[in-house]
Amino acid sequence: MSLTLVISALRALAPLASVFVREGHGDRVERALNSIATLAERGEEAFGELSGLTTRLQQMEGVDRVEKERLWEEIESLHAAIQAAAKLIPPDPPAPPADPPADGGTPPAGESGGSGEGNQS
């Protein structure tokens, strides 16, 4: 079914896109498609559900009490699940001290060796 929808969408869009390309606005077509792609990419998780809610509200003639109660129970349940999951997040490790390295660290440049001076005549 989704493949049919995609093909239908492409068929519907193709003439419009080709007009823009023919008139030298191919970059606009590309930008528009990128925008739609980004939109879908960002909104893909909530998009479908928000659309479903929108459609439900369109059909609605006043709020049904039973439906509202069911929605509230889901909200309470999700809230409990979110807060329970948050308690499992491990605490961040303490930040490392900002002090310079203790003795035994890398010696400053230029102090190692000491050879070479005796070769001067």
Binding site: A9, L13, A37, M60, K68, I75, I82, A85, A86, I89
Partner: protein
């Protein structure tokens, strides 16, 4: 190949908009009375809660982000609870008015209270939505984005 999936999703999203009547993923655009606007706020909150739960449970995400999302839910929940209570009161008073056991003046108070909590709830839903969406980089801006999220 990497561009094919988002492109496909984009076309699909557009198809959904073409196929579904009244579609802009804006529940508030279709809500008619104060009770339906309140229901839209409750429904939107529940949708973003589902995303919030995924974020908080996702161990691959930064802990501070997961904590921020949980905190946004914790901050919003009392407001949403008050909204649910105001909606229940409205439905009760409306039923009483229909039965002739209450007055329209009381209904007007219930409506005002419901609208007040709905406004606060919309801000809470927006805060939760914003916290959830921080998990994705905002590398590219899109002028079409407000079509999805313009209401909350």
């Amino acid at each position: 190949m990497t561009h094919s999936r988002p492109m496909l999703l984009g076309v699909l999203a557009m198809m959904v908009c073409l196929v579904l009547p009244g579609c802009a993923s804006n529940p508030f655009s279709q809500a008619k009375g104060a009770d339906e606007v309140a229901f839209a706020a409750l429904g939107s909150y529940q949708i973003f809660q589902k995303q919030a739960l995924k974020v908080v449970q996702d161990q691959s995400l930064p802990n501070d982000l997961r904590r921020a999302v949980a905190a946004a839910d914790a901050a919003a929940f009392p407001v949403i609870k008050a909204l649910d209570g105001a909606l229940t009161t409205f439905l009760d008073v409306q039923a009483q008015v229909d039965a002739g056991t209450s007055t329209k003046a009381k209904l007007a108070i219930a409506v005002a209270n419901l609208q007040d909590w709905t406004a606060k709830a919309q801000a809470a839903v927006k805060a939760l939505r914003d916290s959830v969406r921080k998990k994705k980089p905002t590398a590219r801006a899109t002028p079409l984005e407000p079509l999805i999220y313009r209401s909350v």
